[in-house]
């Protein structure tokens, strides 16, 4: 069982989040401090710009441990940023697992379906492993969270499409030109969004040229976006060689008209031309889009695309939630079944130790003429017999564990107690005492001329 304590963009404003956020080199210290209190046995810290969360587990994995763990994690986070306390939330047990899976699947992200969170969670897990704060619980729950996220991404369209105007613009440029390296992009005018597009296209390898009403302003902007400045009189010549034109001026009329594009068409030799018109009122004459090989997208087109992507992601989120729920139920069943595991393991170990002891004695006595091959055969036979003997007990204990959430909540406890008592699982195995007790129970060997050797062993002999 795990506890998640933290805050996110849903519960805390950015100034609170940034006070609580930890740089990656401070995370190991935070975790070792948390573990030093001995209440928390395992922990990891996820610290991103949108969330700071501690995922923690106790040493025994019992539900009763969850509250003290939550208090410890809460206390440590509050110590770091006292005013963050009112923004902190706690998710315990199955709720904690569900929250973790939703976070991994980007269902709790500011931008639904964004892919970065998965990498951030992987990094947090690696950091925790390096800090030595990962134990059996986190070793199981984190990989399952990552698998859930991968399932969500491959089975739903939650990660498809672009969710900002600049990224849609660049994606469209890629759909027209493929590789943007060696292409020429012309930026006309200024504006934050246009500059973002220019930076993204420049980052993809295109050459940026900047044009403004005043050459001085164009030069300043060119320095910011890593391009070269041009005067407005060069428009016709640039239109003849540019591949992408990003326009965002405050001009009242069209800056690029239909005729200007037609004039440049002959020297373009049919190369595609993509206009990204981010201005209102529009800079590019819409008739330009009717010219063959020329594509004109205005701000409405981009925003419609972003809205379509987001609404599509929200539709997909419902299917993603279903996957998360399935995964959480799977996890719950696994952890419930795992509650019977210690008893099953203890019983098997106990019985196997007795059988090994008997085998050892026989190999020193009546069966000392047997070689290594026969011994191996005997051991295999003991294994098979033990498996068959314990099969029903194992299945019933697991069933009892899985039924814990049902009506008969005490069945597992009754069975484990009975097994424990019958086989003295809570005591050290004293083989000598066991032998002495067994010999008292055995009939006199003289009255039984047939040695008590299993049929399989006779066959070997």
């Amino acid at each position: 069982m795990i506890v998640v304590v933290g805050l996110s963009h849903r519960t805390a404003p950015i100034d609170v989040r940034e006070r609580l956020a930890l740089p990656s080199d401070a995370i190991a210290g935070f975790l070792s401090e948390l573990l030093a209190g001995r209440v928390v046995a395992e922990a990891l810290l996820l610290s991103t710009c949108n969330r700071v969360e501690v995922v923690a587990a106790g040493p025994g994995g019992a539900a009763a441990e969850l509250e003290p763990i939550a208090r410890a994690a809460f206390g440590q986070l509050r110590a770091r940023a006292p005013d963050a306390a009112s923004h902190l939330y706690t998710h315990s047990g199955a709720e904690g697992v569900k929250h973790l899976f939703r976070v991994a699947a980007s269902l709790d992200s500011l931008v639904l379906g964004e892919p970065q969170i998965l990498g951030q969670l992987k990094d947090a897990f690696e950091l925790a492993k390096t800090a030595g704060s990962v134990g059996p619980v986190l070793h199981r729950v984190l990989p399952r969270a990552l698998r859930t996220a991968k399932r969500v991404r491959s089975e739903t369209a939650i990660g498809t499409g672009q969710v900002s105007v600049p990224s849609v613009a660049v994606e469209l440029a890629r759909q027209i030109f493929g590789d943007l390296r060696g292409r020429t992009a012309l930026l006309i005018g200024s504006g934050a969004m246009a500059e973002s597009v220019a930076l993204l296209i420049g980052g993809a390898g295109a050459k940026i040229e900047v044009m403004g009403r005043s050459l001085e302003r164009a030069e300043k902007l060119a320095r910011e976006v890593g391009g070269t400045a041009l005067g407005f009189d060069a428009l016709d010549s640039v239109l003849a060689r540019a591949d992408v034109v990003i326009s965002s001026t405050s001009a009242p009329g069209f800056v690029v008209g239909h005729d200007a594009v037609l004039r440049g068409r002959r020297s373009r030799k049919g190369r595609s031309l993509f206009f990204i018109d981010l201005a209102v009122p529009r800079d590019i004459d819409p008739r330009v889009g009717e010219i063959e090989g020329v594509f004109v997208y205005n701000i409405d087109d981009f925003e419609r695309q972003v809205a379509d992507t987001l609404s599509g992601r929200h539709r997909e989120a419902q299917r993603a939630e279903q996957i998360v729920l399935e995964q959480v139920l799977g996890w719950e069943r696994w952890t419930e079944a795992a509650q019977a595991t210690p008893t099953i393991v203890a019983l098997r170990t106990r019985l196997r130790a007795v059988l090994d002891n008997e085998l050892e004695r026989s190999m020193r006595g009546r069966l000392k003429h047997l070689g290594a091959v026969e011994r191996e055969a005997l051991e295999a036979m003991l294994d098979a017999a033990l498996n068959k003997m314990l099969h029903t007990a194992t299945v019933r204990l697991r069933d009892a564990a899985l039924e814990r959430s049902g009506l008969d909540v005490d069945r597992l406890e009754r069975l484990t107690q009975a097994v424990s008592e019958l086989f003295a699982l809570d005591h050290e195995l004293d083989l000598e005492e066991l032998e002495a007790a067994a010999s008292e129970d055995q009939p006199d060997p003289a009255s039984d001329p047939v040695p008590a050797v299993p049929a399989g062993v006779r066959a070997i002999r």
């Binding site: 491959s154 890629r174 759909q175 493929g178 997909e316």
Partner: protein
């Protein structure tokens, strides 16, 4: 050897079927990585399946021709099969460089159709006795290579028109979202035309020589010859207009598709002619 030919045929059939299914699954899938067939894509196996299919296809053609003592280029049965094999091989060679993953959804079913369809075409082997065998083999080889390349160019042209339409109409979602970039489709189509045109020219010239030496011509042969000339004129026009008038994109795609359709009709005429006899 007969067993090898049969096993290669059936395994090739399954590999092409698997490739076709995987390419279509990739188009329909929601995972963005599926668009490229890259490492994130489940169907990165699609090109592998196509490659295995092509290898088995080649094995089938070679072993079957050895068994029947018929040179693959001298039988329509093999020729049809070979042209699809050439298209699949050309696609595999160009796929990564030009990001043409989605075109596999056309190539794999075509290869499968030709592999299976060729079995139902008359085996018609042997050549007209009065024709020079070497020149005839070269004529058919050039034609087969040309057919393979033009079929692929036609597919690229078709995909170009779909991609251009969706970008013009700003309908960016759906299956077409995973089509290759517009310029990649255009330049692939151009390169395939450039590679196929000399082969087509050689095929046309040598075919004309054979036709004159055979003397008589049926209606079907005349139609085939006319379609061959039409293809040559179409492809030549597209290449000339690209070079001189900057014809690219839509107009070039229309010309290429028309050329590829002519090639397809020629193939159909070969396939349906009575007995599918000697190939020239």
């Amino acid at each position: 050897m007969q067993e090898l030919a049969t096993v290669a045929f059936y395994l090739g059939f399954f590999a092409y079927s698997a490739a076709a299914t995987l390419f279509f699954v990739d188009l329909a899938r929601r995972d963005p990585a599926a668009a490229t067939g890259g490492p994130g894509s489940l169907s990165r196996w699609a090109p592998l399946a196509l490659g295995i299919g092509a290898g088995l296809h080649a094995t089938h053609v070679v072993t079957a021709s050895l068994l029947t003592h018929v040179c693959p280029v001298e039988s329509l049965h093999f020729a049809l099969s070979l042209s699809a094999l050439i298209a699949a091989t050309a696609y595999l060679a160009l796929r990564k460089r030009f990001r043409l993953h989605a075109i596999g959804a056309f190539v794999a079913p075509v290869a499968l159709t030709f592999l299976v369809g060729a079995q139902y075409v008359g085996a018609g082997s042997g050549t007209a006795a009065n024709l020079p065998r070497t020149l005839l083999a070269l004529h058919i080889t050039a034609n087969l290579l040309g057919v393979g390349l033009f079929l692929l160019a036609g597919a690229a042209g078709g995909f170009y028109l779909v991609q251009e339409r969706r970008l013009k109409e700003k309908k960016l979602g759906g299956l077409t979202a995973k089509l290759p970039p517009l310029d990649a489709l255009d330049s692939t189509e151009h390169r395939l035309l450039l590679a196929g045109f000399p082969l087509l020219t050689f095929g046309i010239v040598s075919g004309a020589v054979f036709a004159s030496s055979l003397g008589h011509s049926s209606v079907s042969e005349l139609l085939r010859a006319a379609l061959g000339y039409a293809t040559w004129i179409l492809v030549a026009s597209v290449l000339v207009m690209r070079a001189l008038a900057g014809w690219r994109g839509r107009r070039s795609a229309y010309g290429t598709i028309a050329g590829a359709l002519c090639v397809l009709v020629v193939i159909v005429l070969y396939a349906v002619r009575a007995g599918a006899g000697p190939v020239p």
